[in-house]
Symmetry: C2
Subunit: 98 residues, 2 copies
């Protein structure tokens, strides 16, 4: 059904994609993404999006699927980070109550 190459690709994809899950779980449960660098997350998201483009150009389904799942998980983490940053900005602009 699947070639040996596809199976190695799927195993690689599962490992690298699964590694985002503990980070997302940590951000979700602690409710903070303060220690994560937004620049690092955006560079990584850009890279994963480019891997999807590369997979499409090469006609490589393993690369397309693996990086699509990874970028979806990563965008959830970016969402948490941006929400936290916006909340921080609003708190700074609100005048102090007596």
């Amino acid at each position: 059904m699947f070639s040996g190459v596809s199976l190695v690709g799927f195993a690689a994809a599962i490992c690298t994609t699964a590694s985002y899950v503990p980070q997302l779980y940590k951000v979700w449960t602690t409710g903070t993404a303060e220690d994560l660098s937004l620049h690092m997350l955006l560079v990584l998201a850009t890279g994963l999006a480019l891997w999807i483009v590369y997979g499409i150009m090469q006609g490589d389904a393993v690369i397309i699927i693996a990086n699509s799942v990874s970028v979806a998980l990563l965008l959830c983490i970016v969402g948490f980070k941006l929400r936290e940053m916006l909340a921080g900005h609003r708190a700074k602009r609100r005048p102090a109550t007596p």
Copy 2:
């Protein structure tokens, strides 16, 4: 010299590989990797190694080079983590001085 596909692949590789650098820099400067999960690092290293095997099987130089650099950076982080864990074990086994 390079095809459009290769250029997209190189750009993707540079972005995803570059994202390991700030983490390695942080571990190097702070001297601690306590907040990093060893299981996550090992799953990620396994995944990157499998991507190298996949690249070799597909004859895809971009995948081979990108993941080789990533796994080298990641193994430096794993080295820090293991050194820290071993130091912790030794400190626990040492009898308390009066």
